[in-house]
């Protein structure tokens, strides 16, 4: 009985070894490892540029929502922001990518690569989430800060950018980190519009010899490594910022 089990484990380990060797033989070839590097690069570009666009646009949208409600124009801005968030949070990002790439681009006669569409859509999509995150952050800052700024003579936006937002961002740093990590992981759908990312790179390797097991396992490992590195970096930044509180 024990011997059979032993042989079974041995054989599957043996087949794993063979599969690994096949994978290794493929990935050392420039066509393949270059594809992986390109995928990695694209994944990071989409996630980070998307994050940046999302942050800036999200900040604007959240301020639209929080403008003092004493002017008619504030209500218009607030509504714009609400509609925006409803659209981009209400549909899956894959759908947004497909609509942008296969419907909007031809409609307006624009030619753009799947990669650039992905960057833009990830930015726009993330902005909807960032808007809500930032709104929460801004509301977490005591109203006395706004009043103190206004009483010195700063107008609403000056006070917002110089006094309230810096404190809000500090408060929401962990959530922002989460958002970045989510973006990195979500990039795995950009192959729907023909952009090369980690998924397409490893799929390419797998399809070259019909051996998918190891490539997909390696893909998972790369994602985990990226996320762990990001987590550590975010922690460090957080600690730096918190340290300035106690100086």
């Amino acid at each position: 009985m024990g011997i059979i089990l032993f042989i079974g484990v041995f054989m599957s380990l043996e087949s794993l070894r063979i599969r690994w060797e096949r994978f290794w033989d493929t990935i050392v070839q420039p066509t393949f490892y270059n594809r992986v590097l390109l995928g990695l690069r694209n994944t990071l570009i989409i996630a980070f540029v998307g994050f940046l666009i999302g942050f800036l646009l999200g900040a604007i949208l959240s301020i639209f929502k929080l403008l003092p409600q004493d002017k008619k124009s504030s209500k218009v801005f607030g509504t714009i922001s609400n509609i925006y968030v409803a659209i981009f949070r209400g549909t899956p990002i894959v759908v947004q990518l497909l609509v942008a790439y296969y419907f909007l681009l031809p409609l307006f006669g624009i030619t753009a690569s799947g990669m650039s569409v992905s960057v833009v859509i990830f930015g726009l999509n993330s902005a909807a989430y960032m808007c809500e995150i930032l709104r929460g952050g801004i509301l977490s800052v005591d109203n006395g800060q706004m009043e103190a700024g206004r009483s010195l003579g700063f107008n609403y936006l000056q006070t917002m950018f110089r006094i309230v937002l810096p404190q809000a961002i500090k408060n929401i740093l962990p959530t922002l980190g989460n958002e970045l990590i989510t973006l990195v992981k979500e990039t795995s759908v950009v192959s729907f519009v023909g952009a090369v990312d980690l998924f397409t790179a490893f799929q390419f390797i797998g399809s070259s010899n019909y051996e998918y097991m190891i490539p997909y396992l390696m893909m998972a490992v790369i994602y985990i490594v990226m996320v762990v590195i990001l987590t550590v970096v975010i922690r460090l930044i957080e600690r730096r910022l918190r340290a300035s509180d106690r100086r």
């Binding site: 004493d70 005591d142 006395g144 800060q145 009043e147 103190a148 700024g149 206004r150 009483s151 010195l152 003579g153 700063f154 107008n155 000056q158 110089r162 006094i163 810096p166 404190q167 500090k170 300035s244 509180d245 106690r246 100086r247």
Partner: protein, 307 residues
């Protein structure tokens, strides 16, 4: 300097100020006392428009901060459709009544029933707009001339003490950084906190925070300083150090409006003491008379509890 004209303030259905008027002249030190919830903070905050009065006007040195309140400008009311209609009706009913009496009665009726909320004619709108254009000023510019000190200090926690003080002068008045810092240091020296210039507010005691909040407002060289219970959030042993800074400021001739429960401060510094109760100023007098010979029964009651 500050002229508060018949202001009302409603928060939803709650009427917090019910017709408050007061004039504050240059160099005066007005102390406002009264029970909690009587509208003292709201009145102070209406002076620099942190709250917008529902009715009434606030003027600073001849400039209007609030919108026009037609009930303070009868000549504007006379241009309204409502007034015209009422006048015709009045004349047809009392053909031989005298003009002045008619005018007074119609305005009284419009005021009593707040009839101006209905649609009014072009002449009325133009009159209001003209009056507003002629007198109003940008509130952000005005606030630079009105320093405010809050009960909860409201220092900016993400900036050092020095940055707290120099932020507004450098960004709003475009004073060169070095010059602003020198000025800030001089002010800090005066209150004995020069050594705290480069620390963050979280490391300071309440009394230190409040003194720095005062300095932050002073760095803008305001014409008037508003204080909203500046010592109420402090431990008792720190009240003195803050009051001392305020007394020194008063001696230097600063115009001040102070909401406080410190009766000693009122007696020593005030040129006039106001007693607020239930949204109105119930009594206003110079401090000696105010404390020695209170008239209003509510004030007598209040003083017997706090003195």
């Amino acid at each position: 300097m500050i002229d508060v004209k018949n202001i009302y303030k409603k928060f939803g259905h709650l009427e917090v100020l019910k017709g408050v008027s007061c004039k504050i002249e240059k160099g005066e030190k007005i102390v406002i006392i009264g029970p909690s919830g009587s509208g003292k903070s709201t009145l102070l905050r209406c002076m620099n428009l942190l709250e917008k009065p529902t009715y009434g006007e606030v003027w600073l040195e001849g400039s209007l901060l609030t919108p026009i309140d037609p009930y303070l400008h009868f000549d504007v009311i006379r241009k309204s459709k409502t007034y015209g209609m009422l006048l015709e009706k009045y004349k047809s009913e009392n053909p031989d009544a005298d003009e002045e009496k008619a005018d007074a009665e119609i305005i009284a009726e419009i005021k009593k029933n707040d009839l101006l909320k209905k649609r009014e004619g072009k002449a009325y709108r133009q009159a209001i707009e003209a009056l507003y254009k002629e007198n109003h000023v940008n509130i952000n510019a005005v606030r630079q001339k009105m320093g405010m000190v809050f009960q909860q200090f409201n220092l900016f926690p993400h900036l050092t003490v020095m940055q707290n003080i120099t932020l507004a002068p450098t960004k709003l008045k475009k004073i060169p950084a070095e010059q602003a810092q020198e000025k800030a240091l001089a002010l800090l020296r005066k209150i004995g906190l020069e050594d705290k210039a480069n620390v963050y507010p979280s490391t300071l005691s309440g009394g230190q925070k409040q003194r720095i909040a005062i300095v932050r407002a002073l760095a803008m060289e305001p014409d008037v300083m508003l204080f909203d219970e500046p010592t109420s959030a402090l431990d008792p042993e720190m009240v003195g150090e803050v009051l001392k800074v305020m007394i020194d400021l008063a001696k230097e001739g600063m115009t001040m409006v102070v909401v406080t429960h410190e009766m000693g401060f009122a007696k020593e510094v005030a040129t006039k003491v106001l007693f607020m109760d239930d949204g109105v100023i119930k009594e206003a007098n110079e401090p000696k008379e105010f404390f020695a010979n209170p008239q209003d029964p509510r004030l007598k009651d209040f003083l017997s509890k706090v003195l």
